[in-house]
C-alpha cells in the first residue's frame, strides 16, 4: 500500500537553529494518526512543511507517492488541512468561503459542497457571515474546507480546539468514519491526550524536534504498564491480609490506608490468582468488601513520562 504520507529524513532549520532532527514516518490510508508533542516540539513545523507552507530544507516528503518538491500541485491535490486556527474570510458567508476553496481545487460540484456543509452540521448557518461564527463553528468550517475535495490525506492541527463536548464527539465520529470507512489517512495533532486516545489508531510523539517513536495506542499503553495488573482490596484487617498473601512478592503488595491494600499480580494467570486470593482471605476469617481493578495508565501518563526528559522549558 502506498503511504498517504511518507516523511523521509526531514531536517529543518530556522536560521542556525535546528528545529527538526531527522524525522521519518509513514502513515497509511484508513488510519487516524495522532501527532503528539509539547508546545514548541515541532508538530506544527512538520505539518507546515508537509502542506507547503514552510520550505523543505532537507529530506523528502511524499503525499500519496507524489513529491511535494517535484510535483507540488499533484501532491497537494490529495491534501486537506487546518493549520493552527481556522481563519476564514470573515466578510463573506460560510458558503461563499467554501466556494472559494472549491474553485481553487476544481471539479467540486455544488452538491458536494452542500453534502459537506451537512456533514459538519452547519446547514442552518452557512449563509451567515463567518465573522459572526463562534470558534467552534469556524472549526467546523475548517474541517468542511479540508474535506471538500475528498483528499487522501487530511491533516488537522488541533481540530478539537474550541469545540464543545458534543462537538468533539461528533468530530471524532466524522474523522473515524472518514478513516475507517472512506479509507482516508487522517493526521491529528492535539494537546488533548485523552481525546487522542479515543480517536487515534497510531500515535507518534515528537519532543524537541525528534520523533520519539510511533506505536499503536494499545502498544504504547501496555508497553509502559508492564506485565502486571493491579487491584485494590477493601479488607477488615489490612496487616493480617498482607501477611496471609505470602505468595505475592513484597514489592507487589502494600497497605494503602487502614481499610485498603493494593496488590499487583501477573497478567498471565490473573483470573486464577484473583479467585485464589479471595478464597484465602475469606476462609481465614478476614472480611472482604470490594475488589477494584486499578485502571491502566492513560496515554496522558505515557506522554508525560516520555516527554519529561525535556524538562519544563520549551526547547
Amino acid at each position: 500500500m502506498t503511504p498517504a504520507l511518507k516523511i523521509d529524513h526531514l531536517n529543518k532549520y530556522f536560521g542556525k537553529k535546528q528545529i527538526l532532527h531527522d524525522i521519518s514516518l509513514e502513515t497509511y490510508p484508513g488510519e487516524v494518526f495522532g501527532f503528539l508533542g509539547p508546545n514548541g516540539a515541532g508538530k506544527t513545523t512538520t505539518i507546515k512543511i508537509a502542506v507547503g507552507l514552510l520550505r523543505l530544507d532537507e529530506g523528502s516528503i511524499l503525499i500519496d507517492g507524489k513529491s511535494i518538491a517535484k510535483d507540488f500541485e499533484g501532491a497537494m491535490r490529495n491534501v486537506g488541512g487546518i493549520v493552527e486556527n481556522p481563519e476564514l474570510y470573515k466578510y463573506m458567508s460560510g458558503i461563499k468561503n467554501l466556494r472559494q476553496y472549491a474553485r481553487m481545487r476544481g471539479g467540486i460540484s455544488e452538491a458536494r459542497i452542500q453534502e459537506v456543509v451537512e456533514l459538519v452540521g452547519l446547514k442552518n448557518r452557512i449563509n451567515g457571515k463567518v465573522g459572526k461564527y463562534s470558534l467552534g463553528m469556524r472549526q467546523r468550517m475548517g474541517v468542511a474546507q479540508a474535506i471538500l475535495h475528498k483528499p487522501k490525506l487530511l491533516i488537522l492541527d488541533e481540530p478539537t480546539n474550541g469545540l464543545d463536548p458534543a462537538g468533539i464527539k461528533e468530530l471524532r465520529d466524522i474523522l473515524k468514519n472518514l478513516a475507517h470507512k472512506e479509507k482516508i489517512c487522517v493526521i491529528v495533532s492535539s494537546h488533548l491526550m485523552s481525546e487522542m486516545e479515543l480517536m487515534c489508531d497510531r500515535v507518534g510523539i515528537i519532543v524537541n524536534g525528534k520523533l520519539k517513536g510511533v506505536q499503536t495506542v494499545e502498544e504504547m499503553i501496555s508497553a509502559s504498564a508492564g506485565n502486571d495488573s493491579s487491584y485494590i482490596l477493601r479488607v477488615s484487617n489490612c496487616e493480617a491480609a498482607v501477611d496471609l498473601l505470602n505468595f505475592i512478592g513484597k514489592d507487589k503488595k502494600k497497605i494503602q490506608d487502614d481499610k485498603h491494600i493494593q496488590i499487583s499480580i501477573p497478567k498471565a494467570n490473573e483470573e486464577e490468582l484473583l479467585f485464589d486470593i479471595t478464597d484465602r482471605l475469606i476462609s481465614s476469617g478476614i472480611r472482604l468488601g470490594t475488589v477494584a481493578p486499578v485502571e491502566n495508565k492513560k496515554l496522558e501518563d505515557v506522554f508525560i513520562e516520555l516527554t519529561k526528559s525535556g524538562g519544563s522549558q520549551i526547547a
Binding site: E73, E84, E87, Y89, M92, R103, G106
Partner: protein
C-alpha cells in the same frame, strides 16, 4: 488557464464582498459625475462674467452712445452717430456679419471716390440681410479690402457659406485667411531683413495646415482647437469630457489601496494558510492577485470613461459627436475621432496608476503591511510631481532618471517634458526597469517567504 481564471474569480469575489471596495467605487462615481456638474456650475459663473451683450443691452448701448456723441460733439461725431443710428434702425446686434459690414459700408460711403451704385448695393445688402449681394459689391472695391477679407468673401460666395458666427466653415475660413495674412506679413518682414519670432511662425504655419485640412476634409469640429476650457472659458461637451481624465488619478488611489491590501490582508487575517494549502503554485496565486488589481483598475477606467461621457452629454448636450482631433507631425495632418482621442488620454494617464499600484503591490507582499504599502505609494503618486518640479528648479539633471519624471507620457508626446530631451522611449525604458524591480520584489516577498 482555467485554474488561473478561477483564482481571479476568487479574488474578485473577495474584493466585492468587502464593504470598503463599494465605498471606493461610490467615491469614483461621485467624482465622475461631479466633474461635469462642477463644470456646469462653473459655466454659469464664467458666462455671466464674460458673456457678450444681449440684443436689448445692445439697443441701450447704441442709444447711450448716440446721446453721448450729441453732447460731447467730438470730431466727425455726426458720422459716428449716424452709424449707431443705422445699426439701431436695422437691428444689427452682436454676433452678426452686418456688424463688420457696417464699418466697410460707412468707410466707402464717406469716400467720394466710391461709385454711388456700389454704395447703394451695399446698403441694400445690409438692409435685406443679403450677404451675397453685399460681398459681391464689396469685392468690386478691391483696393479697400484686405487680401484676407477678399479671400474670405470669395470663398463664401463660391461655396455658398453664410457668414454667421455659428457657421463653422465661415469661422474656419476667417481664421485660415487671417493666419495666412499674418504669415505673409512675417515673410515680408523676413525679406526686408527684420527679426521674426520663429516659434510664432511655426504656430501660424501649423494653424494654416490645420484649417486648410478642415476645409478640405469637411471637419466641422476640431477638439484640439479648444480642448481645455481653461483656455477658452467656453464649456462644451468636448472640453469638459476631455478634462475628465482627472478621474483617473482618483482611480489610481483606489487601485493603490486595493493593491496595497490584496496580499498583506491575507497575512494579517491568517487566511494565507488556507489559501496556500491548495494544489496551486504560489506564483499563480500572486499573479492572480496582481492581475486582479490591475484589471480592476482598467474596469474602473472604462466605467469612468462611459459615466463621464454620459454625464457630460446629459449636462452639455450631445452636439458635435462626430468631432475629430487633428494633430500635425511633419507635413501630414492626422485625424482621429474625438471619442478615441479622449480614450487614449485616459489610457496614457493610466500608466502612472499601474506603476504606483505595482509599487504598492511589491511593498504589500514584502512587508505584509497594508498601511505601509498604501501610505508610501499614495505619497509617491501624489507627491511625485512635486519632487520632479523641485529637482528641475535646482537643475539636478539626474532627476530625469527618477520614475516620477517619466510617468507623464501624455506630456512627453505633446513635447512638454520636465527635463530637456526626454523621449517616449526613455520614459518607457525607465518605467520598464522599475516595473521589473517591483515585480521581482513582490515575487521574492511572496514565493520564497515562509508562512
Amino acid at each position: 488557464m482555467r485554474k488561473f481564471i478561477n483564482l481571479v474569480k476568487n479574488e474578485y469575489t473577495k474584493m466585492f464582498s468587502k464593504v470598503s471596495t463599494w465605498v471606493l467605487i461610490g467615491m469614483m462615481l461621485i467624482v465622475s459625475v461631479g466633474c461635469s456638474v462642477l463644470a456646469l456650475i462653473g459655466e454659469h459663473t464664467v458666462n455671466t462674467y464674460l458673456g457678450g451683450r444681449t440684443d436689448s443691452e445692445c439697443v441701450e448701448y447704441y442709444k447711450s452712445e448716440i446721446d453721448y456723441l450729441k453732447e460731447v460733439k467730438t470730431e466727425n461725431w455726426e458720422q459716428e452717430a449716424e452709424k449707431y443710428q443705422y445699426k439701431l434702425d436695422n437691428k444689427i446686434y452682436e454676433d452678426d456679419w452686418r456688424n463688420e459690414a457696417c464699418y466697410l459700408y460707412f468707410d466707402s460711403k464717406n469716400d467720394t471716390s466710391v461709385p454711388q451704385d456700389i454704395i447703394n448695393e451695399m446698403d441694400n445688402g445690409i438692409k435685406n440681410n443679403d450677404w451675397k449681394k453685399f460681398f459681391e459689391s464689396a469685392l468690386s472695391l478691391s483696393d479697400r479690402l484686405s487680401e484676407a477679407d477678399k479671400n474670405i468673401y470669395r470663398y463664401c460666395i463660391d461655396n455658398n457659406v453664410s457668414p454667421s458666427s455659428d457657421n463653422w466653415k465661415y469661422s474656419v475660413v476667417s481664421s485660415l485667411e487671417n493666419a495666412k495674412a499674418s504669415l505673409a506679413e512675417m515673410d515680408n518682414a523676413k525679406e526686408n531683413g527684420g527679426e521674426v519670432d520663429t516659434l510664432q511662425y511655426e504656430e501660424l504655419s501649423k494653424e494654416v495646415q490645420l484649417y486648410q485640412y478642415r476645409l478640405d476634409k469637411n471637419v466641422s469640429y476640431d477638439i484640439s482647437e479648444n480642448y481645455s476650457w481653461m483656455e477658452t472659458s467656453k464649456f462644451d461637451f468636448w472640453n469638459v469630457f476631455g478634462s475628465s481624465t482627472a478621474v483617473v488619478s482618483i482611480i489610481g488611489v483606489i487601485i493603490i489601496i486595493i493593491s496595497g491590501g490584496i496580499v498583506s490582508s491575507e497575512f494579517s487575517t491568517g487566511t494565507i494558510k488556507f489559501l496556500l494549502i491548495n494544489p496551486v503554485k504560489r506564483w499563480k496565486i500572486l499573479a492572480s492577485k496582481y492581475f486582479t488589481s490591475i484589471s480592476f483598475g482598467y474596469v474602473l477606467i472604462f466605467a469612468a470613461y462611459l459615466i463621464t461621457m454620459l454625464a457630460t452629454m446629459v449636462m452639455f448636450g450631445a452636439d458635435n459627436l462626430s468631432a475629430s482631433y487633428l494633430s500635425i507631425s511633419g507635413d501630414t495632418v492626422t485625424s482621429i475621432s474625438g471619442f478615441l482621442y479622449v480614450f487614449l488620454q485616459f489610457m496614457l494617464s493610466s500608466v502612472e496608476m499601474i506603476v504606483m499600484a505595482t509599487l504598492a503591490f511589491a511593498i504589500s507582499s514584502l512587508a505584509r503591511s497594508s498601511a505601509l504599502a498604501i501610505g508610501v505609494s499614495v505619497m509617491a503618486y501624489v507627491g511625485g510631481n512635486t519632487i520632479v518640479l523641485f529637482l528641475q528648479q535646482l537643475n539636478f539633471d539626474w532627476g530625469r532618471y527618477l520614475i516620477f519624471s517619466n510617468l507623464s507620457l501624455a506630456n512627453t508626446l505633446s513635447g512638454s517634458t520636465g527635463f530637456a530631451g526626454q523621449t517616449i522611449m526613455f520614459n518607457l525604458v525607465v518605467i520598464a526597469v522599475h516595473m521589473v524591480v517591483f515585480i521581482l520584489t513582490a515575487w521574492d516577498g511572496f514565493i520564497r517567504r515562509e508562512v
